[in-house]
């Protein structure tokens, strides 16, 4: 069984030769290769080279063309500040509440900002890996991109002060995400993971998620399946228990769950959906291989009879993580 077949089997709750393991290694691939994060997030070739190096080093089941959470907002006009060994941050948001949003142009993934570099990385990764390992692209969720276009505080206040205007912007974000995701699939991604941290119940109430975000997520996932995605993967951080029941309606096939959700809560919320998680990300920095092995063993035991599970971290494995801790997670599935 190769990695792609193993992940596909886990999604369908079929038997696998071992539990798939996907380390959410993004910027850490740069640290591992001795490349600055600044270069990694701006150059598709560097990103692909570092990802291939990390795959060779750790031997897990997926590679990622993920730069950071600001690719789409930059392409739409936000100004970023690039930092040597950190992810870039938004210095000036693309939009303000007093602007005219009626005819915002959807960013062209072949031209706008760093989108072409992300596509370049996907082309290289797919060319080198083929269908042996899952090649994952990345887009923001519609509400997350909305908060990245306006700033979190402004977007949240707008949700209350002028909800119809917020919805117009969320529609723009949705179209941006669909166009970018489709381009990623054309470039070679097996699927684009949808990162949606701003849609977490710690940020917005579940009712808001249901009314505003769910219909748009559904549109995004339908578009991706229609463009050849092998599955839909949703990543929302934090205590997602109250919104898990909406995932199947959205069209989710793989659901990431964070460290603050117990395996039981995740399984109860999504009894027929493949889950991936949920080792505490900071443990990869300040823990030991034994700590990681213990966390992994608990998870593997919890899902032993259920299946439909990919061993992973609750969120991104931080760039400064210790390599031996990531290796410990990967080895946990091989030791069984």
């Amino acid at each position: 069984m190769n990695s792609l077949e193993r992940v596909a089997a886990a999604i369908n709750f079929q038997e696998t030769d071992r539990v798939p393991v996907i380390a959410q290694v993004f910027g850490h691939a740069a640290s591992l290769a001795g490349v600055s994060l600044d270069d990694y997030v701006q150059d598709g070739e560097t990103l692909a080279r570092c990802q291939l190096h990390a795959l060779k080093e750790y031997g897990y089941d997926a590679v990622f063309s993920v730069m950071d959470v600001s690719v789409e907002t930059e392409a739409a006009g936000s100004v970023l500040r690039y930092l040597r060994d950190q992810y870039p941050v938004v210095e000036k948001y693309a939009l303000s509440t007093d602007g005219d949003w009626d005819e915002l142009p959807i960013p062209d993934p072949l031209k706008a900002g760093r989108m072409p570099e992300m596509l370049k990385a996907l082309r290289i990764l797919r060319r080198e890996i083929g269908d042996r390992t899952l090649v994952v692209g990345c887009v923001m969720g519609p509400f997350t991109l909305t908060t990245q276009l306006l700033g979190m505080e402004t977007a949240l206040y707008l949700a209350i002060d002028d909800p119809s205007r917020l919805e117009r912007l969320m529609d723009f974000a949705t179209e941006t995400v669909i166009r970018f995701g489709r381009a990623q699939l054309q470039a070679g991604a097996h699927l684009p993971i949808v990162f949606n941290p701003s849609a977490s119940p710690v940020v917005i109430p579940p009712q808001f998620f249901r009314e505003f975000e769910l219909p748009r997520l559904k549109r995004v996932f339908q578009a991706f399946m229609g463009s050849g995605a092998v599955a839909n993967w949703l990543h929302i951080a934090g205590p997602v228990g109250p919104v898990l029941p909406y995932y199947p309606t959205a069209g989710v096939h793989i659901a990431n769950f964070d460290y603050c959700i117990s395996p039981k809560e995740a399984m109860d919320g999504l009894p027929a959906t493949c889950l991936d998680g949920n080792i505490r990300p900071v443990s990869f920095i300040d823990g030991s291989p034994e700590d990681i092995e213990a966390e992994a063993a608990k998870l593997l035991d919890a899902f032993r009879n259920r299946g439909g599970f990919i061993l992973s971290s609750g969120c991104e494995i931080p760039p400064e993580s210790k390599p031996k801790n990531i290796a410990a997670m990967v080895n946990s599935v091989r030791a069984r």
């Binding site: 941050v89 940020v203 505490r280």
Partner: protein
């Protein structure tokens, strides 16, 4: 003036209705209620209710921000010249450290602390460690609270207590919180207290102020 007369104000704050909150506060002031009473019987009571919701994990950023906006607008009405409240429980210095520009958590803590009668000195985001220590030395606060969304600031957080000790400011408690930091532990971060949420800071500070008003 009992809390029952404050009910409308408390409800408006909890519902995040900014205009109604300010309107209710104006009515109370017009009826002879002092600004201090609006704070203690109105704003603080509303904050305690939010705190209770938070403890039950029935809260989200949107609700807290809306309540926070209402509180800040009322404070502007009560203290238009920005003069610090006379009846302060004590000073807390807050900051988001250099390299981290995600200051929403810090701003929420600021609102919660002001709403509960603390004086807050805000060092802002992307704050160099040296600047933070200088401000602590000048202000001599009860505590310094640091928020962190991203992991690269962890090494900076670990230095704060030792830097305070070098300036003989070790009586100042060090509090940490935020998405990245709260995954760790107080001992690993070398801080006195690791807060799960902004509201979590209040009972900890009350240990030192005796919850005095």
């Amino acid at each position: 003036m009992g809390e029952h007369l404050m009910t409308n104000l408390i409800t408006a704050i909890l519902e995040g209705d900014c205009a109604e909150s300010v309107s209710q506060a104006k009515s109370l002031l017009g009826g002879g209620v002092s600004p201090e009473q609006v704070v203690t019987d109105g704003i603080e009571a509303a904050m305690s209710r939010l705190d209770a919701k938070c403890t039950l994990e029935q809260f989200n950023l949107l609700e807290i921000m809306l309540a926070g906006r209402a509180v800040m607008e009322i404070m502007k009405l009560l203290y238009p010249s920005g003069i610090a409240m006379a009846a302060s429980k004590g000073t807390v210095v807050i900051a988001t450290l250099e390299g981290d520009i995600h200051d929403l958590g810090k701003n929420i803590l600021k609102t919660v602390l002001i709403g509960k009668g603390y004086r807050v000195v805000d060092c802002g985001k992307d704050c160099p460690l040296q600047k933070l220590i200088d401000i602590v030395e000048k202000e001599r606060p009860l505590a310094v609270a640091i928020s962190g969304l991203i992991t690269p600031i962890i090494p900076l957080v670990r230095q704060v207590k030792d830097m305070l000790l070098l300036r003989r400011l070790d009586c100042v408690k060090v509090i940490a919180g935020g998405a990245a930091l709260k995954q760790s532990s107080a001992s690993r971060l070398n801080v006195d207290f690791l807060a799960e949420s902004a509201f979590d800071v209040l009972p900890y500070l009350d240990e030192f102020t005796g919850g005095r008003k």
